[in-house]
Structures are given as C-alpha cells and as structure tokens.
Amino acid sequence: MSSNKKYWKSVEELNENSSIVETLKQNEFVAEIPTDEFLGDKETLESSSTTRRDFLKYVGFSTAAASLAACEGPVKKSIPYVVQPVEIIPGVANYYATTIANGFDFASVLVKTREGRPIKIENNTMATTNGSANARVNASVLGLYDSLRVQGPKKGDASISWSDFDSETTKKLTDIAAANKDIVLLTQTFASPSTSKLISEFKEKYGNVRHVVYDAVSESAALDAYQAKYGERGLANYDFAKAMTIVSVGADFLGDWQGGGFDSGYSKNRVPDHGKMSRHVQFESNMSLTGANADKRVPLTPSQQKIALAKLHSQIVGGSVSGDLPTHIEDAVKKAASQLKKAGSNGVVVTGINDVNAQAVAIEINEALGSKAFDPKTPIKTRQGNDKAVAQLVADMKAGKVAAIIMSGVNPIYTLANASDFAEGLKKTELSVAFSMKADETSTQTQYIAAAPHYLESWGDVELKKGHYALMQPTIRPLFDTRQFQEALLKWNGNDVSYHDYIKDAWGTSILGGSSFNKALHDGAYVGTIATEVEDTADVVEEENATPFGNAARSLAASAKSEGLELTLYTKVGMGDGQQANNPWLQEFPDPITRTSWDNYLTVSKADADRIGLTNKHVANGALNGSYANVTVNGVTVTAPVMIQPGQAKGSVGLALGYGRTAGLKEEMQTGVNAYALYQNANNVQSVTIEPATGEHEFASVQLHNTLMGRGDIVRETTLEIFNTKDRDVWNKVPTVSLNHEETPVTSPDVDLWDEFDRSIGHHFNLSIDLNACTGCGACVIACHAENNVPVVGKTEVRRSRDMHWLRIDRYYSSEESFEGDDNKKDNISGLGSSLSEFGELENASENPQVVFQPVMCQHCNHAPCETVCPVAATSHGRQGQNHMAYNRCVGTRYCANNCPYKVRRFNWFLYNGNDEFDYHMNDDLGRMVLNPDVVVRSRGVMEKCSMCIQKTQKTILDAKRDGREIKDGEFQTACSAACSNGAMSFGDINDKDSKVAKLLKDDRMYHLLESVGTKPNVQYHTKVRNTTEA
C-alpha cells in the first residue's frame, strides 16, 4: 500500500506559484553563491603572474625550507656579569622593604627581586602600620614594566634633556618669582616629612608659592571634621580589632574608605573565639564589600543615611532630630543604637558620608561611647587633600592668576568634574610642568612632562600615621631617564645633595632620635617615640563656617533631601582611583561583588530597573548583556551600561570611579566610562536622572549564576547562636551515604572506592580557608597571578568563560532573606510543579540578599577525579598532597576539566605569551620582566591550574635541607596565604601535629567542599558564622 502522505519541506511549498520552489527543484540554493566576493576582483587574479602550479611550488618549497631550518637547534647565549654585584646570586631572590605611596594606596611592602628585577609585592610583616598590600598594591609591580611610560623629559611632544629642562624651568620660575606672581604646586598626598621640608624650602626660595594637595577621591569632609575637632589635618584612626559592635553608615571600610587598610583588624574579631565574635551592622545604598560582610545590612538611600546617622546620634548622645525614615529602617537604627549603648567602649560608628556634619557626628558618637577602636591620637596622614583649596585653584587659574603650576602624582584633567575649567586655566599659565609616569590626560596638556619614576625606582619617606614612618627605597635602577619630583625640587632649590642623602639627613635630625637609619630602611618602617611636628605645608583655605560640632546632627538631618534618584560614586577594589588603569591584572580582576571584569557600570536595584525599563539578560553563550542608561547630573550626561545589583537600595544607583581613561593607555585598557565627570564638588553623592539609552552592553563576567539554589553544603553557614548552643552535627554535618542500610559518613574508608595512599610520612600540605575571616578583598587573586605567571586573556575571552584565574573568589547571594531560607525552601519542595516554580525562584537573588565569599582554587583532592580520566597521565598525585600538573605531558583533551567537580582547571586556548591578539604584559618585552622565572609559562593547548605553589613549598624544603634543619610551622606559604593578612588563609603541613593547619583540620567548623563527592580535598573550609543576635 503506497502512502498518500505528502511531506512539506517548507511553508513556501504551499504557495503554488512560488518561484522559489521552482528554483529549488533545479538548484541547491535559491540565489547564486557569491563566489566572486571572496575570490576577490577578477582583474587582479588574472593579471597575477603566479599560476596555481607556481603557487604550489612556493608552498612546497617554503614548507621544506621551514622544516629543514627547524632541524637546527637554536644556539643559546649565556652572558654573565662583568662584575657581579655582591648581593646578587643568579637564581636566588632578594627582598627589599619599601613603601608604596601613590596618593591613593599607602602600604609597607616587601619586594621580591630576581637578578635585579622586581617581580612580586609581598606583605612586610615587620611593618604593618597601614594594613597590608591590597589587590592594587600587589598589582603595582606590573606598572613598573608599563611600555607606555614616559621614557624621558619632554617639552610638548619633543624630548629634551634634563639639563635643558632644569635651565629652562629654573629661569622661568625665577622670572615668575621676581615678578611676584603665583607659583602653585599641585600634588597628591605625599604624607612625606622630607617632601614637606623640601616644599617649605622651595617656598622660601621662590616666595609666592602655594601648595595645594589634591586627592582624586576626596576625604575632605572627614579631614575638615577632624581638623575642627582636634586642630590637626588628619583622619581619625580606627582599630576594628578592638570593636565588638560595629555600625557603619555608608562607610566601605573594607574597601577604600579613608585610605583603607582596616580589614585585617576587622577580621580578627570575625572569627568566633570562645563563643564571641563582633557584630557588624551596615547601612548603605550600594552593595559594597563591607555590606557584603556585614551581619546585618540595611539598604537605604544616601539621604536616608544622613537621617539615620543623625538619629543614631540623638539616641546615643542625646538631642532630637527631625526627619522621617521607613519603619524598618527606623527600627534598625533603634536596634543598632541600643546595641552600641550596650557595647559601650567596645562599639564603634563609622560613616562614609562626605559631609562635615556627618563626620563630626560620627566622631561625637565615638567620643560619647568612649570607643576603644576609635583613636584620634595617632591620626592617619595618607589623605590630606582639600576640596576648597582645589576649587579655589581652578577658579584662580581660570582667572589667569596663576603663573606657574607644577604637578606631581595628580591627573586633574581626568579626575576633576570641572576638568575643562582646569584645562582652560592651564593654558593661561606661563609655566606648567607635570611629573608623571604617563603621557596622560593632564601631562599632555602641560608644557613640560617631567618623566617620573615608579615607586620601585624611587627614594621616599611616608608618615602613614602620626609617628608611624615608613621608607621607600629603589629596588631597581631607573629603567628610563626619569627624575622624581623631590629631586627636581632639590635642583630648583639649588641644593646639590641627592634625595637619598636629604632623607637620611632629615630622618637623622628629626625622626630617628638616635636609632639607625639602616635598620629603619631594612625594616621598611619606624615607629617614632617622640612626637614630631612636621610643618604642614599645604595651604589651607580659611573656613567660612565655624566648627560643625554641637549642632552637627541637626544640620545633618536638615541637609538630607532627596530629589529623584541618588547616585553614589565609589571606587572598586580593583581599579581604585584609576591611576593604574593600564594594568591588565587589575582590568581583568573581577569585582568582588558583581564578578565582572574590564568594566564599570551603573548599579541599579531590580525595582528601579523595572520601573525605568533597564534590563540585564543572558545571551546564547551564557554571557551577560545589559542595557545602557544616560546618567545626568546637573546637565552633565554620561552613558553607562546597567548592572542590576541585588542589595542596591531602591531610589539609589552606584557608579565606580577610575574607569573611562583614554590617554596613555593601551587600547584594550580603555574600558568603562569616566564617572569623575559626575563627581561634582568632589561629592560622592549626587542626585541624578536616568533614562534608558539605545544599545546593549556586553559584560565580561566570570560568574554568571549568582545564587546557591539552596545547596547549603557548598557554603556552610550558621548563626552564632546555633554555633554556640548546638552540636556540630546540626550545623556542620558530615554527609552520609547508606552502606548496608546504615548511614555512614563519606569520610569513612568503608565507603571509599579507592585505597588510601599512605601520606603520614613527610609533609602533607593543607590549605585552610576561613569563610569568617575572608572579606573577599581579592589580594590573593592578584598575588596568585603574579606568582604563577597566570596570563591575562582580555575582555572578549573572559566573556567566553575562558578566564585563567587559578584562584577565584565565588560570591553567592541568597535568594530568600538568608541562605537558611534558601535551604528551607529547597528542602520543602515537593512535586514537579512546586519544583519547577520554586527552583526558578531560587535562581533570583533577593532584594537585600545575604552575601558570602568563597575562594576556590584547585582542591588538591586525595582522590582526584581529574587524575583518573587523564589519558596521558599528565596530572598525578604527589605524596605531599599536591595534585601535580605536568604541562609538557598534557595533550589538551580537557577530560580533567570536565571531570572536576570544582571547575578549577583552566585551559590555554591561545598562546597568550606569543600572540599579538593579546596585547597584555606577556606579549610585551618590558611586561615580560615581571614573570616569575621559577614557574613555567604555559603554552597553547594545555590545561593549567593551581599547583598549591609547589615552587614555594619545594623551595622551603630545599632551604631547610641545605641548612640541615627541620621546618617550623609557618614557613610553608602559598602566594595566596602569604598575601592574606586577614588570617583567612592558612597553609602548612598537617603531618606536623602542632601546626596551625593540623589544628584547624580538627576544628568543628571545618568542612570540605562538596564532601559528599568523596574527593577528599586538601583544602579545608571553615563554616561561616553570622552574628545575628539583635540586642
């Protein structure tokens, strides 16, 4: 029986008269294939003298020639020193203590140099005054090898010599001084006693000199408030290690608030000890790193923050303030106040509102509490900028009153909101000099670019806090023909000594008080016993209004008005104020909160986004796209991509400073939008109007799924109450499997498929990660990058999920109010309908989610799934607990990555160190200088991953063998554990029973990631405990 069925190939066939159907019967394609297009134009083809045969001959010949040439091994030259410096032994690293002081980041660091070139920044444990190296400081070593640095002094576009520079500038300065016109020194915050001395000498010599200190990201209000109260320009110091109750109103103190560096103190009390840990309440509008770590986070708009702070003040100090708050915020403020009162001197209040009244209120509250954490006696000196002086300067310049301007460490044409005024004023000066490492926005507009050295090539001194000094010393000879600002000042002052001698002299007379300079230089820091008064050279514009104290709370509450949306400008952990924008490590560093690299964006709450019509969506390859929005402040509009941010307070938006630079940067690094244009009057809060703009922005996010979906065993969490009262099994249960109808813990050898390998002899390394102490700051990520030669892959590759970070810090949002809520919701799912809808809901983060950070690197499983699937045995296990990866053996099947439950293996898709498509440091002769010679640079087509810094453990072992001694606990370090000053990461040998990690392994909070899989990892995690106890 034949079938009468007729199959339609397309709807077109229904149309009987369609010409297409007719054509298709004859031809394969409807239209002619446009072969001409890709064969190029015929004329050239025909006129070419190369026939097909010739072409093949050429191909054959060149292939044969190439393969013949390849038979000859390359001749490698080895060139020793003529005179080898005493301190250098090829192959052995030297360490120097120095200090970074670039106007934004100030920290004492240890610089590792190999054969004379600095390759890594490490923490200086002998000098911890200003916290430790953050992600930017860790990355700063790469700035030394920036191929776009200015390589010598320039006049306009032409290079000149330093002697010409000296004679020309000195003459002009003398003329200007003789004519009694204004000379202005516009500088970053140096906080340097020697520089201050030099500047005062300069003033003496040239007379009409004004020194204006300018911080790109202003802390002026806090400085003003401190000055009004204590009569000295500085910032109150906070030691969070002494605080048990912390209330922060808009202060991102784990980020860059007031110079940063507070995180290690904070973390000390976050680890429950004898049942106690600190309680942290955060009131904020943007989701900040600090808010993410808080026990309780209250989202509210900046204007509500002012009222909340005022009310907090009135409830603790007394007095009454007006102003309305939504009830839940009102309630939260009340609870915070009562908790603070209860804590008394153990409590502390900080605020990030850039308003003198707000800062005064915070000081008053802390004084009233008698807070131990609040320390006004040793003020922080690393921010000294003065907004009013800067505004005055711009006005004077515009009026043509400034004859000479000499800048150092600043880039006002990029960082000023009224940059065009400044640029206009700059043209009216007779002499303009910029000391700069880059031909950046400002220095290209000046008459002279005085090529400045990197801090690793400079001498210097810093007073980080009052009486806490640090020294900066060169770790390499200047790579280029550069001169630091201070050397130039010495020249202008007619002083022939070198800056090094000058510092030594200045320290000898006024700082050291008899102690050894060389010891201070060796240690990198010196804590003075004598209070020294260094003359404050920055000229202060007289305050027109009297001290803010007394009436501060009321004025604060009164000043809180909101019109439309409120924008809070912030700095990112990675980019900071933007001076390191040409650093590919920092560009590729994913923001801890949004997990997005290579961008800044407008963070908007879900509710506001829906209202305005802004969207985020995932495209076919999973990557995130977002719509654009026009952000307008007082007529200034920037168009920024939109990121919908859980936890963003309704009615507020956020935008990061430091992006959108265009001058002196490689093309790849010119990312984001310049938010400084909106930073009017140096106020980080602005009221804005937002409109959707056309187009879609492509984000490069490294984490695309934001919630845990109720899988509480990935990140274990509990509350302090449960932790203190309940058994371990309740809050940190070891997963069980059924064996002979008995629930058996997965850690039991009875349920193991594999025979246990004996690791009891020798070393057995473990890395411990305490989720309570980890703030997610990301210093470890950059440290790992630097130590292990991890390549940078660029924005488009990150978008394809080909980022190479060996260590990532996963960030999860809760879908319900808390992660516990997620777990309960998941456990109560029953039936298909419920599961479909509720799992769907679990994918979305809550409006104000709980946040958790979890650093994940290779877990070095004792029973590693990757090892069993490798067809060539390229990955294998060592007795010391490390999972080895032999790159030269790997053939790139990627089976291991597919079989890894932790997704920590990274595949080299391209030859990142030899492919011009990747114009980052590894493809740059200068940038390659930063590579660690002890770690191989991986080639294309191999898998790579965290090695648990085997090069470092092996070195420690070798050093001990050579000395013939046993290894002490604490000697073993990985790059990440050494970079972590918060105590979140500990590394060591668990076969040494007295070691810290061996004890941590037995801790009740310890669990392994995905323990139920039975991989037996050598990385331990410690359950996060939240102090949810309300007072």
Binding site: G73, K76, S78, G762, R879, M885, A886, R962
Partner: protein, 430 residues
C-alpha cells in the same frame, strides 16, 4: 668589591716589591744566598704580586738589589727593613720608600716579619740570576707522533701484503680450476651439471610464512630505528660549540686543580651553577698573564696567551698599566647544557644537599680541553639516577625523622631519591 680587592692586593704587593728592590741593590758582591731555596720562597711569598721581568701589582724584581744600589744607593740592610716592615720604612720618612709607595698608588706591601735575613738573601740570590732564554720549542717534544705514524705505516704494509697474498691465492685457485676443466674437456670427461632445482631465493619468496616473518622483522626493526632517530631529536649529548674565548677546563680544573665551585660558586646555593663573572676570572688572571703549562701543536703558548688577552679585553684590564680601563664587554658564552623550560633543576639540591660530584652529570670536565655536553640530559637519565642513588642523610636534621619512618616502611637501610618522592612529576615540572 673588585676595587677593594684590587687595592688590598696591590698594597701588599707593593710593599714586598720595595723590599726586594732595596734588598738587591746594595750587596752585589754578597751573592751568598741559595737561588734554589730563594725560588721556592719567592713563589710562596712574593709571586702573588711580583714577577722577575714584569711589572705587576709590585715592580719587577730581576736584579733588584743591583738596581737599587746603582740608582738609589740603597743597601741590603734597607731591603731587610723594607721586606720585614715596609710600612715602618715609609713612616720613617725614607725618601725612596715614599716615592715607590706613591708610584704604586699608595698600596702598601705586606710585611713579612717571618722571613729571616737568610731567607731574604736566598730570595735575592734568586732574583739576581740571569734570565734564561727559553730554548726554541722542538716541534715534537716527545716524538710520540713519529712512533705512532711509523706504527700505522707498518700495520698498513702488513695488511696490504696480506691482501695481495689473498688476491694471488684466489687468482691461483681460479687458474687451477680453469686448467683442470680444460684438461677434462680435452680428455672428454663430462662434468655433471648442477640439477635445475628452484633457486633458493625463489623458494624463499614462495614461502609465505617466511615472507611474513621477514616483513614483520623488517617493520619492527625499521620502527626501532625510526623511534631511535626520533627520540634523539633535541638530545644534544656531545654538543661542543666553539666559545668566544677558548677556556680550557683541562688547564683550570685538571692541571691546576681549581675547585669547580670556586668559579661556579652559585651552584652551592642557587638553582643555576652560574657562569663566573669576569671579576672572578680576574682574581687570578691579574697575575697570571701568560700560559706556562704544557702545549700541543694545536694549542700553542701563543694561542693560550692570546686567549688571556681576550679576557683582558673583555674585562677592560690594561695589563701594561696594571689597571682597569672601565671599558668592558661581557663575554657571550654559548650555553651548552640546555634544559627545557618546563623542567626545573636546582644545582644546590644536588651539589650541596646530595653532595653529588659535578662530574657525575658533567663528565670528566677536568680532562676537557673544549667543554662538551657529557650526559644526554633526558628525563630517563634523570630518573635512572634518582632510582639508583641513595640520599645523603648524614648530619642533616631535616631528614632524620622522615628517613627513619620511610626506611622502616620500605624495609631498607638507605632510601633512594625515588623513594623519597624524587620521581613525582611535580617535583620537577611546575
């Protein structure tokens, strides 16, 4: 560092030089010393700074006594005083002492209070000897080449004679055979023809089994050779490049017995053994300006002296003026031992911790006129050694505990490097 050494040395040399200068002048007649003893004393005490005929850190000392007596009128007593304590003589304001002290850049000569007057007499006697004119070097000092050549010729003659004999025999046999056949045919005897059996090669080809075996054999052997060829790619055993300066390890490490780690000092503490920087060469070569050892036709004294000149040019040393010009040019040595980047090797682990002799991997360096790669430097070669070598745990507190436990586990007295984990991939590849 270089400068410091330079100054110190020259100081010492100078002092000595002056002493000698003076000592020799006066007592022309008093040649009572023993030149033979004097020579050994000179070599032990003075030779670091002085030569007989060449100005070095200190002045040349040939006939110093006579010279001083003639030119300065200084006697042997002055020389005694100078040699025993030159600084004292300078301090006393002696005109000539101060003059020479200044001439040699204010470098004082080491005091030799331990030398007796008699010793000094001996030394002076040695310096007063006439300069020996070196006899022209005979082209073949040992005549070894001649013997060898003649031996070779005689062997060849014997072989040739044997060959001729053999050919004659073969020809003789052939002729006998031919003659016999001719006789046979002349006498009408039929010689039996060989039966027409299938020739052996044809039978062989027809036997399929044999063919199969042969084919398999052929394939296997060619695979073996191809594999062998491929696996030696990148293995540069025997690599012996021409270096910019002909540095003879044979002379330095062999003839003069200089310890390897004197020059390759970083092998003790670093992953690289380090090619010595030129200041290390100059430590000795400031005073060793010529080659005085054995020579061969290929490498003559002039050749070696020329190589030392190359070193001086590179280090920027002006031998005539005995000072550095400051114009140096680093030597671009050709690297012989090249490990691939993905293999981590640490010299100090092997040299200091394990106490492995340099020769174990680098071969008989002390016999190498031109350095070459002795070992294949393949992974198999590394691994073999790790399997066979026991670790040196003596007096090393690091190993005490781990060795005790591991040797108990493996039931051995001494552990090999492999048993310590020396075969794990990640120990060398990271």
């Amino acid at each position: 560092m270089r400068k410091v050494i330079h100054r110190k040395l020259s100081k010492n040399f100078l002092r000595l030089g002056l002493v000698f200068l003076l000592a020799f002048t006066n007592t022309l007649s008093a040649q009572e010393g023993d030149p033979a003893k004097g020579k050994s004393l000179f070599n032990a005490n003075c030779a670091a700074c002085h030569k007989l005929d060449k100005k070095m850190t200190g002045p040349a000392l040939r006939n110093v006594e006579a010279r001083l007596a003639e030119e300065e009128g200084l006697d042997r007593e002055w020389l005694y005083a100078w040699i025993k304590n030159s600084a004292g003589v300078i301090k006393s304001g002696d005109a000539y002492a101060n003059k020479i002290y200044k001439e040699y850049g204010g470098a004082a000569m080491t005091a030799f209070p331990q030398l007796s007057n008699e010793d000094i007499d001996n030394i002076l006697a040695y310096t007063a000897e006439e300069k020996k004119v070196a006899p022209p070097t005979p082209p073949n000092p040992d005549g070894g080449t001649d013997t060898a050549t003649s031996g070779g010729i005689s062997n060849e003659i014997i072989l040739g004679a044997l060959a001729i004999l053999f050919i004659l025999l073969a020809a003789g046999l052939y002729l006998v055979n031919k003659t016999l056949r001719r006789f046979a045919s002349a006498q009408g005897i039929d010689l039996p023809e060989s039966s027409s059996r299938t020739p052996l090669w044809k039978a062989f080809i027809q036997n399929q089994f044999l063919m199969l075996v042969v084919a398999i054999f052929f394939l296997l052997s060619s695979a073996y050779f191809v594999y062998g060829y491929l696996s030696q790619i990148g293995v540069d055993q025997g690599y012996q490049p021409v270096q910019p300066i002909h540095f003879s390890h044979k002379i330095h490490a062999g003839d003069n017995g200089v310890d390897c780690k004197y020059c390759h000092s970083s092998a003790r503490v670093s992953k690289t053994s380090g090619i010595p920087s030129l200041n290390v060469c100059m430590n000795c070569h400031k005073s060793i300006y010529e080659y005085t050892g054995e020579t061969s036709p290929e490498y003559s004294k002039e050749f070696y002296d020329g190589e030392i000149k190359k070193l001086y040019a590179a280090a920027g040393w002006d031998d005539a003026e005995q000072k550095y010009t400051g114009e140096s040019s680093p030597v671009k040595w050709v690297r012989i031992h090249n490990l691939p980047d993905f293999a981590y090797f640490n010299h100090s682990q092997h040299v200091t911790v394990a106490g492995v002799e340099c020769q174990t991997c680098h071969g008989p360096v002390e016999e190498m006129e031109v350095m070459y790669q002795h070992a294949p430097l393949t992974m198999g070669w590394c691994i073999n050694c790790h399997r066979e070598t026991n670790i040196d745990v003596k007096d090393n507190a690091y190993y005490t505990k781990i060795h005790e436990e591991l040797s108990k586990k493996y039931g051995v007295d001494e552990l090999t490097a492999a048993q310590m984990g020396g075969l794990e991939c990640g120990k060398c590849h990271y």
